[in-house]
Symmetry: C2
Subunit: 551 residues, 2 copies
């Protein structure tokens, strides 16, 4: 395998989230991004899902460094789990460092971590790789892509990006650097596919700035704005509008408070000294002079906006005259909880402005016409679509082919595929393990499909515990069976059902059917017969747990 | 209350689904629609959610008849549960009858049911009401709204509708009848709000017919089309395109097979005799001559399309050369499972066409410009927005006010509100119970919030059962405690944790802390201490079920 570049996605290809790409040459590798995936409803009780790194674990000297494109959870969230095992140097931009430091501190890994801030244009050499960050526009400041020089040629890894010619915080996607790289020759382009379904261009953040200014300028009462806590440019827009219209800003919700504080410390937010106010000042401020910036754009159950919607926020009670702006879209899967909040806020009498009825949000990813620009200027030898569900990868690959790329040179990888590029050719040569690793509480990887299946079973029909205490000498019940259920039926129906179970158990263990004295058989029979009875009576299948005690 | 019209939504206001509206005058009432709501992820194990009818149960002679607008589940699905208790006459259109008969037969209620088909224009008198159906365009044939004459004036109840000037199956929304009613004077308009967020007009079904014809005409291999099983007009388009392009149609998926058969029997689908083919004919048909129409547009786990996506369909194996068309949008909440299917079909090599990349679906509800037309021609004295989540009701009411309606005459109701209209005024005078009634298996209403909370608990961290058998005389354990868990931790971690629990229990029950002999206290202590230990060790909180047996 000597002399070949190996490209190995350990996450993020074929799904949104858990982004992690390995670039490997001979005995050295670097990782770009180490993200997490938020669990679906089916991942019962799972907190987050992280990439499997057993491939890296096999040879702990292989991985030499991690490069992070930007500070979103799907790109940095699994970093603590990686560093705990492989404490390699981390390279990232200033704001990204701010965000990962919070995270590493929580995991008590900050002291040992080796984090280096790199500016766009600066070059870092790691083993056979020389890596240079280039600026991209995305829905968080300080986002970059990487230009990776390898012995076989250059790789352009975009990370998440869009092309915004009028960004609010001055961060353009550096098409000049990309064009220069293209002119010098690019071996491989790995580019964001998240919005490969969307025709045309993603509108500029400026559209949102205008809409927010209009909404805030025309509101008579209080204005509440929620957005992603990492979307610092959106918070800047709110600050700008507040100052233009003589309002002051109160920030609430843990991650929003933390991110705003950090962004102000690092100089990412510009404001007048008096613009921000504290809770005491909020209490005495006129509604017409107030803006509240808060968490909850995704309807998260414990967020500030959800508390306001439910009337349980300790400081802010929403009512007539309030304007609430959701400057965000629901992430797929969150639609119901987001719209439930919107409905509840309307019910409280607020005027709610959200993306379906005004342009108060734009996306952070490149649509098809933007992708075409990048392909045109980079003109790579090979192309791998990254960041997206499988259909996005397919559509992005088709786009590349439409632009004239040889179909054999545009390759769809999924997690675990090992793409090997040598001087001649590019091909998937093997597959490494890249399973979901579930994190639940302190456990990393101990919740597996079987545990989830049990939870699913419990979630659907509850549990029924049957305890039969049997005399070890006579084989007879020493007392009536104990039967209890949880999550199975309501309190009115429960007693009769449990009594029926008790009778059945007495019958099986102590009655005429007690001839069967094989312990395991009796156990199975208890389980099957109780389940069958319950299914007949209720059409439900609780998890039946029979316990036989010899006493 | 004499002399007043009472309008009582028992479902469907403030949410999509479970539609049921009561119109009551003196001692008589009619219901329009009796629908169900599909459960959310949080309604663990619940099959469907139906309206609470305790209001009607109080005086079983109150309800005189049910009128159904169309055959979608959110308008007819709870009919069996109503008729089981209050077997009143049912009036509906021909196709709706076909659909409810299937349902009533399953519930063994068909024999006793009194179903009468009414044609648009036909008038039915029930107590003080005279009801006339008028044709509307919607995503199922034979949809109607109702014009309800009451002693106080006429009510227009639209049901679900859109305005389609070029419908595929000839069914227009009867604006002429509505205009006539408006000219004669309408007391109350109750109109569909589902798409009150959407600007402009919903495109005509003809757009979809054109797109399907283009896709089917240009496909080289097999074409698979999925849509809602009730969307008969869409199936007609596929038949038309098949016949134009020399293909034959195979139908798969239970509800699609049933609905197509029923629609053909009743004359709702026009086709040449040879157009449909059976499984044997499919096996010998060329791919280029084949269209498969199937269930699965919502990614339902057991549907035909999901089986194809997973490679488990008994007849159809999807691969390179196949074109799969999803002629539908994901219903909110179903996005993930729909896109998972699309991704899996792409992975199998199919070309997948869905609404984000081609116009293969249009919605079935009126957008804002269509709503304005209805308001303009009906010109009601009072307006109540129906069918929609709360924000849709608010936006629809605002639309009515923008059109010139007095804000006091446009009233937002939510489920259970009793709107009373007399000769002078309209006001909400009281509120009746209209809770969710959960159906789970055979149980109707026995699953309540407490059962769901237990299921949620079990779903998140599983269950841990601890059994301590205690000698009734000595108070000492007669044997080591039994400890078992399900859905809690994986098989590698489980033994050590269960052993630790066993030691703790022995310590509490049999050890030096055994001084506390109060049975209930000991039980609580077991539960609390075990939970605390597990939380320390795992950061999880399983449902701990301690059982103390005196033996």
């Amino acid at each position: 395998m000597s002399g070949a570049l190996r490209v190995i996605p350990l996450g993020g290809l074929g799904e949104i989230g858990r982004n992690m790409m390995i670039y490997e040459y001979e005995d050295a590798a670097i990782a770009v991004d180490v993200g997490l995936l938020f669990p679906d409803a089916e991942h019962l009780g799972v907190d987050v899902i992280i990439p499997e790194i057993s491939y890296l674990r096999r040879d702990p000297s292989l991985l030499r460094a991690v490069f992070l494109t930007h500070g979103h959870e799907d790109h940095i969230g699994a970093l603590p789990f990686l560093l705990r095992e492989l404490n390699v140097p981390v390279f990232c931009s200033e704001l990204t460092r701010g965000l990962i430091e919070v995270k590493l501190r929580e995991h008590r890994l900050l002291d040992g971590a080796q984090i280096t801030v790199v500016e766009p244009g600066q070059r870092v050499s790691v083993g056979p790789f020389t890596v240079e960050a280039f600026m991209v526009s995305h829905s968080i400041p300080d986002a970059v892509g990487f230009l990776i020089e390898t012995p076989l040629g250059d790789v352009v890894h975009t990370g998440d990006f869009k092309i915004d010619h009028t960004p609010v915080m001055g961060q353009h996607t550096d098409l000049t650097r990309l064009a220069q790289a293209g002119a010098d020759g690019v071996l491989l382009l790995a580019a964001d596919s998240t919005y490969a379904e969307i025709e045309g261009h993603t509108p500029s953040e400026q559209i949102v700035a205008d809409a927010l200014d209009r909404v805030i300028g025309s509101a008579e009462g209080r204005v509440v704005v929620t957005t992603f806590a990492s979307l610092i440019s959106r918070v800047q827009m709110v600050i700008d509008a507040a100052e233009r219209h003589g309002r002051r800003v109160f920030v609430t919700g843990r991650s929003m408070v933390n991110n705003v504080a950090m962004a102000r410390d690092l100089g990412y937010l510009r404001s007048r000294p008096e613009t921000f106010m504290n809770q005491r000042q909020l209490a005495s401020a006129a509604d017409s002079k107030t803006i509240i910036v808060c968490t909850g754009s995704q309807g998260e159950p414990t967020s500030a906006l959800t508390r306001m919607a439910r009337g349980t926020h300790p400081v802010v009670a929403i009512g007539e005259g309030d304007t609430v702006v959701l400057s965000s879209n629901p992430v797929p899967g969150n639609e119901k909880q987001v719209y439930r909040n919107i409905d509840a806020l309307f019910e409280r009498g607020a005027n709610v402005i959200y993306n379906r009825i005004d342009a108060v949000h734009v996306r952070g990813h490149a649509a098809r016409e933007e992708l075409k620009i990048v392909h045109r200027v980079v003109r790579p030898r090979y192309f791998v679509p990254i960041h997206g569900e499988y259909r996005h990868l397919v559509l992005h690959r088709e786009l590349a082919v439409e632009l004239g790329m040889d179909p054999d040179d545009a390759l769809i990888l999924t997690d675990g595929d090992v793409l090997e590029i040598d001087g001649e050719d590019a091909a998937v040569v093997e597959r490494v393990s890249s399973d979901y690793v579930f994190v639940d509480g302190l456990g990393v990887g101990d919740v597996d499909e079987f545990v989830l299946r049990d939870r699913q079973h419990l979630a659907t029909d509850g549990v029924l515990v049957v305890i039969a205490a049997v005399d070890r000498h006579t084989g007879r019940l020493t007392r009536p069976p104990e039967v209890m259920s949880h999550g199975f039926v309501g309190p009115e129906e429960e007693p009769a059902l449990l009594e029926a179970v008790g009778e059945l158990v007495s019958d099986i263990v102590g009655g005429e059917r007690a001839g069967r004295r094989d312990w395991a058989e009796l156990h199975d029979s208890l389980k099957d017969d109780v389940l069958q009875l319950m299914q007949e009576r209720t059409h439900r299948r609780p998890l039946v747990l029979p316990v036989m005690l010899e006493v």
